[in-house]
């Protein structure tokens, strides 16, 4: 057995891991850390509303047992703005009406940030024509395929896609 890696860091602050290993990262965020930005949609991996970034990678916090994340760096929607200044992607969501009720929005935004890191790393998608290519992009069906793990019951998909495309235009490699 390895030593446990200490607390989990959430938006830069240490948060003690739960004694009960049944607690999900999502419940730790919402109930222990008081961070209600991350949403519980389905609690079974099917909607993406609970998406957060762990060490820069997008994951579903509802399917993550918090105890597995000792020593890891979690970023939630609350960790994206600089004081009162929203993240450029947050601003773009407002400008493009990338939401209606807003319930899926924190997950969409965290997911899009994780997705963009994947694209910049050259990770292909199911619709990438040439898997041998060293670069990846958001053209054609790429953006929607890569964001398919985030559902929006309000159907704000066009606005979401526009906001993501505009924010990351020119950042694909």
């Amino acid at each position: 057995m390895t030593e446990d890696g200490g607390p989990v860091r959430i938006n830069g602050s240490p948060v003690a891991l739960p004694d009960d290993p049944r607690v999900s990262l999502l419940d730790l965020l919402r109930e222990q850390a008081g961070l209600h930005g991350t949403k519980k949609g389905c609690d079974q991996g099917a909607c993406g509303a609970c998406t957060v970034l762990v060490d820069g990678q997008r994951v579903l916090s509802c399917l993550a047992l918090a105890v597995q994340y000792a020593g890891r760096e979690v970023v939630t929607i609350e960790g994206l703005s600089e004081g009162d200044t929203p993240h450029p992607l947050q601003r773009a969501f407002v400008e493009h009406e990338g939401f209606q009720c807003g319930y899926c929005t924190p997950g969409q935004i965290c997911s899009a940030l994780g997705m963009m890191a994947e694209v910049e790393r050259g990770v292909p998608s199911y619709v990438t024509a040439d898997l041998g290519a060293a670069t990846a992009g958001l053209d054609g069906d790429e953006l929607r395929e890569r964001m398919s793990g985030n559902l929006c019951r309000c159907g704000a998909y066009n606005g979401i896609a526009d906001a993501v495309a505009e924010t990351f235009a020119g950042r694909t490699r």
Binding site: R22, L131, G132, S148
Partner: protein, 328 residues
Amino acid sequence: MIPFTYARAGDEEDAVRLAGTAGSTYLGGGTNLVDLLRRTVERPSALVDVTGLSSSIEDSGGGLMIGAAARNTAVAEHRLVRTRYPVLSRAILAGASGQIRNMATVGGNLLQRTRCPYFYDVAGYRCNKRNPGEGCDAVGGPHRGHAILGASPACIAVHPSDMCVALAALDADVHLRGAGGSRLVPLTGLHRLPGTHPEIETVLAPGELITGVQLPAPVTGERSAYRKVRDRASYAFALVSVAALLGVQDGVVTSARLALGGVAPKPWRAYTAERSLIGGPATATAFRAAAEAELAAATPLRDNGFKVELAVRTITAVLDGLVREERA
């Protein structure tokens, strides 16, 4: 969830020792197990976290060795996988979502449980896989997603993995380690057909750990493809999927490796179709005949007969696409 303890394994030996206690279960990325725990379909008393074990992806004599803790994204994006085994990258990328692929491990993907909705509904339905001997409500209830090959009257569930379909076609071997030592089993021999015991899904002994997956060197001259047919364009399980590797010389099929997903209780290597293809003409007519030969063994039920024709058409289209690609 029923209460359980949690321990993180430091190495393989540690993992096998920890899992020696009755009621222990290995934990990978948790993307299937956490859901099953929450619904009390699975009720272990102890979880042994194996995400800290080997996740390396390395050349091994022209083939590839993949640690069981490698995340699905890491495998799909790896240069050697993309160039030598593009069918594996494509199959992984066809599954789940970006978030889930970042969490899911290779070991967990191999051993993920069926998505049969009756299996997940503890309060609502009878299920022989969950409660051996109580009956299967899927046989009489709506079952359009269920198996047409390899099923039994006791269970008609399908294995849901995309990755495993590509691994079956690629002749992958799976490395296992248990209290008694290590062994290697072919991927096609890892999962068992349900027969009268659908609760026994693999050849793994209790507490046996998957440590890695090994791929033989690619066959030169083979082209490959993975195609998945589903109810929506993305983020849905397969109704039918096809992994194909095809070698053609002067219009004659020299090698053919074919596996199907979404149609059977295990990743289904289509040996009958392969035998029909090899040595024959690389034409759409011959491809359709081979697909029909494979599906001749199908035993469709009331709602899932459409999968037979869908599988035949998908196999034919994928093979035909590979030949056209070759010519282009």
